[in-house]
Symmetry: C2
């Protein structure tokens, strides 16, 4: 189970992909495969949650890494390159590196 | 604690705000206040997790609502309007309504 908490020492990557609606499911499948086959085996990977937008034009990956160092190492890892190239062929993306400032749930 | 799971019947809003770095912390504070004072009391609110980007130019709100109907009602609620107007004065935003397609964590 993926959790979001303030004050936890993780790097959060919010990657917003723009895609043609006819390619949205294909992009979701590619990101799930990249996660299962490659990312989850790399040092520092914590989680990836892949979302499809209701309007068909976006996919959002909410991912957590132990540190920016681990994330940067993944980007340089040859095992990750083919996945990134395949995704770039059908989508543009806007990766946002961030940290949790505050997290509020209804029960608090 | 906020959790992300596949197959849970929630609406996820990923709202990406663009902001000048000198206003980033102010925007975070405004979103936290809007959540605490207003959003969390509205029907269907489940959670809001507010993130600041490391480069200072973005804020991401990862929010969960029980349904799109509840989310749409919030947008029409007079109590929410002043918060949205204040935010719009210092930031642009790109709200993405989505659902979880897959969620993978390291332990799986």
């Amino acid at each position: 189970m993926v959790t979001i908490r303030k004050g936890r020492d993780v790097l959060t990557l919010v990657n917003v992909f723009s895609v043609r609606p006819e390619n949205q499911q294909k992009l979701v499948d590619m990101l799930v495969e990249a996660t299962d086959k490659t990312m989850k085996k790399l040092p520092g990977f914590l989680s990836a949650s892949i979302h499809r937008s209701l309007d068909g034009t976006r996919v959002v990956n909410y991912a957590q890494w132990r540190s920016k160092t681990d994330f940067d190492a993944m980007r340089q890892n040859p095992a990750a390159q083919p996945h990134m190239a395949a995704v770039a062929a059908i989508a543009t993306f806007d990766p946002i590196l961030c940290e949790v400032s505050e997290s509020v749930s209804r029960d608090e």
